[in-house]
């Protein structure tokens, strides 16, 4: 059985659903595929976003918000506490509802949403038969002498669709454009010849629990730093209201070689929340890298974590993925209306201009900060606490942290237009 659409989006997270929505709003017929049996579950995320970035990308429904946060508390290895001025507020989301609603908005715009659809290959554009996922890597390309990395496929229009299993049945779906929104475990990009492999240094490997019966300030997000707590990463405690909290840790894959994320989390929870109930325990991975080099290759487009659109400093990827999804969805709709796939290239250009360059600076900042030993982290906290209160902003913290690296501070000032 085969179907034909303008666009197939693989993955119904925030980036995929947003891309599907904007492509459908622009007049495209869209199939949105999700491998899991439901959308938004399990939640593999800290769930925090800033109000400004979320407002910029979607009309906020109060049902999505578990808690509104007015303060950030950064805790150094020896326990110095810095509370930089946020200049706004944050939300801790209820992603079970949020992700579901974003897919509903896509459906409302006309997209077909289908769960339990496990995509396992791209269909070549030159009419060859379906790919076989168990063949050795590389055979998924249209043909060996014109591997995707070498340029356009023989037919000149890339890939004709995807192969998948749906309720145990083999299926194919065809489309003019295929969007890889398949998250940290993205394979769509690899099949199209785009290098999406995350270096283990940049992979933040995460363990997260939802706790009940905890006592904490409901308007504060806490971040713990230090080699014993979260080497090359941080541990977060985010309130979710009603005595609940999203507590998790992300550490670099380099640190995870020695000790896994779940062990750091278990230690912390035993110390800090000994009597808490555990509602969920989940694993996760966040690609804290610069954006992939190639966001569009022929008729394959990448968005969200699949495109490494996560802010590499904070590890936050909800709103930046949605922005990528929206830019891509709009470019797709324009390209289809004009019947000119070269217009897809508007998307990488817009991404680079508005976000990509900033993420490169964030990545350099992260790479510098992650090398700091505990003494340096404590020293930064002490120095920030010596600043006048009005200077204790997030930028004040970074300026203090990177004061021995004036080049990087200058780059920060230039990239983010700071004064």
């Amino acid at each position: 059985m085969s179907e034909q659409y303008d666009v197939i989006v693989v993955g119904a997270g925030p980036a995929g659903s947003t891309c599907a929505r904007y492509a459908a709003m622009g007049g495209a017929s869209v199939l949105l595929l999700e491998k899991d049996r439901d959308i938004g579950m399990p939640v593999r995320c800290g769930e925090a976003v800033s109000n400004r970035s979320l407002e910029r990308i979607v009309d906020i429904d109060p049902r999505w918000i578990a808690a509104t946060v007015n303060r950030f508390r950064l805790i150094s290895p020896s326990g110095h506490i810095v509370e930089p001025d946020l200049g706004g507020h944050g939300y801790v989301l209820e992603r079970r509802i949020f992700d579901y609603d974003l897919a509903r908005l896509a459906a409302g715009a006309g997209a077909q949403v289908r769960t339990k659809s496990y995509v396992d290959g791209l269909l070549p554009g030159n009419g060859r038969s379906s790919t076989d996922l168990h063949k050795p890597a590389g055979t998924l390309s249209p043909s060996k002498d014109t591997s995707p990395a070498d340029g356009p496929s023989p037919a000149g229009h890339g890939w004709s669709g995807v192969s998948m299993t749906w309720k145990g049945e083999r299926r194919e779906a065809h489309a003019r454009i295929i969007v890889g929104a398949d998250g940290v475990e993205s394979r769509v990009g690899k099949w199209a010849g785009i290098d999406t492999t995350t270096h283990i240094r940049d992979m933040e490997t995460c363990a997260q629990m939802t706790l009940t019966g905890v006592d904490l300030d409901d308007d504060v997000c806490e971040f713990y730093f230090g080699n014993d707590t979260a080497p090359m990463g941080y541990l977060w405690v985010f309130p979710k209201g009603n005595g609940m909290a999203n507590v998790g840790v992300g550490i670099s894959g380099m640190a995870s070689k020695k000790r896994a994320a779940i062990r750091y989390l278990q230690d912390f929870i035993a110390r800090r929340f000994p009597g808490a109930g555990v509602l969920t325990t989940v694993a996760g991975g966040v690609p804290c890298a610069v954006t992939v080099d190639t966001l569009v290759k022929e008729n394959v487009v990448l968005v969200g974590d699949a495109a490494h659109q996560v802010n590499p400093m904070s590890g936050g990827g909800i709103t930046s993925g949605m922005i990528g999804g929206r830019m891509a969805g709009e470019a797709i709709a324009r390209a289809l209306r004009a019947d000119d796939l070269s217009l897809l290239q508007d998307y990488p250009k817009q991404w680079e201009k508005e976000i990509g360059a900033k993420h490169r600076t964030y990545h350099r900042m992260k790479s510098a900060v992650y090398k700091f030993p505990d003494e340096t982290l404590d020293d930064i906290a002490v120095n920030v606490l010596r600043l006048a209160p009005e200077k204790r902003t997030i930028w004040g913290v970074f300026r203090t942290a990177l004061r021995h690296q004036p080049k990087l501070v200058w780059e920060m000032v230039k990239t983010f237009g700071l004064k």
Binding site: K35, D36, R37, P42, R44, K116, Y118, D120, L133, H134, K135, P136, A137, G183, V184, E185, S186, R187, K190, W191, T197, T198, H199, I200, M203, T205, C206, A207, G253, S256, K257, A260, A261, I262, T281, V282, A283, G284, G285, P287
Partner: protein, 68 residues
């Protein structure tokens, strides 16, 4: 020869390992994970990044020195 093994009933299917696998050698479905033996080069990146210590790297047995 595949040296990497997945401990049964420990995987949370998060995809961290797939993200770092340079060979596209991991098949990850909603609640099923498999290493594609033909592609795996035993580089162990999946072992290193797994948040739940799901993978085991079985070091190849050293060749016994020939008896004199």
């Amino acid at each position: 020869m595949l040296l990497i093994e997945i401990k049964p009933n420990t995987c949370d299917f998060c995809g961290c390992c797939v993200g770092v696998c340079p060979e596209d050698a991991i098949e990850l479905q909603e609640a099923h994970i498999d290493i594609i033996e033909d592609r795996c080069t035993n580089c162990a990146k999946c072992v290193w990044v797994c948040p739940f210590e799901v993978f085991v790297f079985n070091k190849p047995a050293r060749k016994q020195p020939a008896e004199s």
